[in-house]
Symmetry: C2
Subunit: 212 residues, 2 copies
DNA sequence: TAGATTGTTAATCGATTAACAATC
DNA sequence: TAGATTGTTAATCGATTAACAATC
């Protein structure tokens, strides 16, 4: 009940473990030690054991970890089986790219519908997902209970839309817009994918490389 | 010369400072103290001063920081003015979305060309950028000296393409594919944008929220 | 049983925060 | 000059790594 909060650093490594174990599983490998896993992933064995023991003892002394067991444990920790409802707002280039290519289901979400204001996309389907008018957002969420919203519309609408979504009971926001959503602006869980910041950081590193 | 390495945490905050200062600048604000900036950005004043002093003393006691001066200092630190050549590999949905919408120039790069294997896109232009045959990659880079490669092709080609790019003198890779590139696999600077890991982490948080 | 490897506690390291003298 | 705010050193906090007893 009163388990202490798991640090963000640990949470961000869980999907990496999951992906790696999934690969091992597909290659027919059934057991692995923290040392092997650490070598392959570029972590330390200590760190892997510490991370996993935030959630429970999944291994066995003298043996290691069962690949399939650990994979499914991590899947459960992340909640990948729950298949929560999701919607996407802004069916522009990026929105359509995500609808067309991204596997939401493997991340625990089912894409229910997309929304946009542009009359030339409203009414169309992208990869089987209906694009509806943004006006019908409230009505739709009330009827279908979406817990995640993917924001791929222009950045100047971020705050207003976020407010609306929170009022409608949306729990999480996957934010691709240029506007940040800080903890004091919303109670929803927010994960921001910041292309600009990512590339600027890379620019710095390339720069440094040149100097060294 | 022998300045000690700036930590990754600091580097990742630089673009945030830059963006914020840019906004202040556009709103006509000319000076700001570390405290004001900290309040607005949700950091501590100490941290901001520590971060900036990795690179030099840009402020003035009793006054604070000149917005425009600090903005341009950070821009220089990040190398945003240098306009290095960039190419993009994989002109699918995501690649075209980036070519069409993303402002590479504000991140210090000029997009020179895109490459793909599919005959239906080769020869077309996306937002003024030519899509060329992947066969002509080596020739093109030798002629135009691209320092950055944006990888938006399928994940199973990541390693092979990376090897090829490194041999051609490319310095940095902005990796959108599902395959990681670890430090022991390449000497290039790598920045990976991992959609799946990002959404899985959010899935965990939404999950936790429900339990609390 | 002996060997291996975990779970967990202790030590180390690095990053963040606090404090304050320097100075505009 | 007095007030404000930096640059910088010291203290704290948290995350990573090392060590080792428990145990399969």
């Amino acid at each position: 009940m009163t388990k202490r909060k798991v640090s963000d650093a640990v949470i961000r490594r869980l999907p990496k473990y999951y992906r790696y174990l999934d690969e091992l599983h597909e290659n027919g490998i059934t057991r692995i030690s923290s040392h092997q896993l650490a070598d392959e992933m570029g972590f330390t064995a200590s760190q892997i054991r510490q991370d996993l023991n935030c959630f429970g003892g999944f291994g066995q002394q003298g043996y290691g970890y069962g690949v399939e067991k650990l994979r499914s444990e991590i899947s459960a920790i992340l909640g990948l089986q729950d298949m929560r409802g999701a919607i996407l707002i802004g069916a522009g280039n990026l929105g359509r790219a995500l609808l067309g290519n991204f596997d939401f289901e493997s991340c625990g979400f089912r894409m229910l519908a997309a929304f946009d204001v542009a009359s030339e996309v409203v009414g169309k389907k992208v990869n089987g997902v209906d694009v509806l008018a943004l006006d019908s957002l409230d009505e739709f969420i009330k009827a279908h209970s979406a817990e995640l919203a993917v924001l791929t519309m222009p950045g100047d609408e971020t705050r207003e839309i976020a407010k609306r979504l929170e009022a409608l009971g949306v729990k999480g926001v996957w934010n691709f817009t240029s506007r940040e959503l800080r903890a004091d602006e919303t109670n929803m869980c927010v994960e921001t994918v910041h292309f600009t910041e990512s590339l600027m950081a890379l620019c710095y590193k390339v720069n440094e490389e040149g100097k060294a």
